[in-house]
């Protein structure tokens, strides 16, 4: 068996070199894993603020525009009570009934209610036009499905809408009909 000069000097890695490279590799892998885990936990923390950051202000703008156009409101315990105009309360209401006076003197109504539809909590909007005989059975549209609880209150003399997110975050908006 002949060895050429260059091949004779080729040798494998020593145990120390192998151990060192494996330790380095493990160190790098651990560092990357830690960074990924950290990033994921921070992303999760950031996502917990999504309701306060994105949804609540949008709901506020929408409801404020709606309430500003109304000339009267009442607060009720449930959607069905709001439709019937019964069981009005000043606090812990789940449905807000709004009345809009039209230019011809007639009225149309709207209900913004927090309710559970098909197992999903949502803030719904119902509309009853001046020529409609009854309320629609299903909401005309869903304002948002993000709040965990919505409380309508008039305990302080002004309309307050308290929005609670699913992580216990809370924000309260207030307003008066025009």
């Amino acid at each position: 068996m002949k060895f050429t000069g260059s091949k004779a000097h080729r040798r494998g890695f020593t145990l120390i070199e192998m151990a060192l490279s494996m330790a380095m590799t493990l160190g790098i892998a651990a560092a990357i894993l830690t960074m990924v885990q950290q990033q994921m936990s921070i992303n999760s923390a950031v996502n917990r603020f999504a309701f306060l950051r994105e949804d609540a202000p949008q709901i506020n703008v929408l409801l404020t525009n709606l309430i500003n156009q109304a000339d009267d409101y009442s607060i009720h315990t449930t959607t069905s009570n709001a439709k019937a105009g019964t069981a009005a309360v000043i606090d812990n209401g789940r449905a807000l009934r709004l009345r809009f006076r039209l230019p011809d003197g007639s009225f149309e109504y709207a209900i913004v209610s927090f309710e559970i539809v098909s197992g999903q909590r949502q803030l719904s909007y119902y509309r009853k036009g001046s020529n409609d005989q009854s309320w629609p059975s299903l909401p005309n549209w869903v304002v948002s499905s993000k709040p965990d609880v919505v409380n309508f209150s008039n305990a302080t003399g002004i309309l307050e809408i308290n929005l609670v997110g699913k992580y216990g975050e809370e924000i309260t908006f207030a307003g008066n009909p025009s």
Binding site: S6, I28, M35, Q39, I42, F49, L52, R53, Y167, E169
Partner: protein, 160 residues
Amino acid sequence: MYRNRKHHSKRKGYALIEIAASYAAIVIVGLVTLRSTLNNITGQQWTVKQAMTDAYLTRETALASRMPFANIRIGSSPWPVYPSVSTQTVVVGKLPGGDNVTASLHRTRIADGNNLGSGGGSGSNDTNPTNTEAWKLQSVLVYKVREKEYVKTRTILRIR
């Protein structure tokens, strides 16, 4: 033989540099990621507090507009006559987990210059024959985002 050994030791040196470079790259990537994340979180805190304080001030505006005029000008008015200022700590909202977010609310009311003397002004029956009385109700909300302090104010004019 000597040349080969030298060449081999050079290769070892390169390996050390490569490992050091990869560690440095990881540290740099980690720091950049951390910094951008911290920037995001700071921006988020700012946005959330803006939303909460804006919401709280809708309450102040609504209260100042709706409160009976007689209750505004009595001694126990929530808006005392300037330069007196009422100060209270208020909860403007709750963070995920239920922690309160607080701010400092300052209220005062400023008489219109043409109010009669009884209304805090210097007007007379000549300048104000209908005894019109006007007050500016001012609410100032002071809150902090990290170490920076911010101020928001709303002023409502009430006239009778």
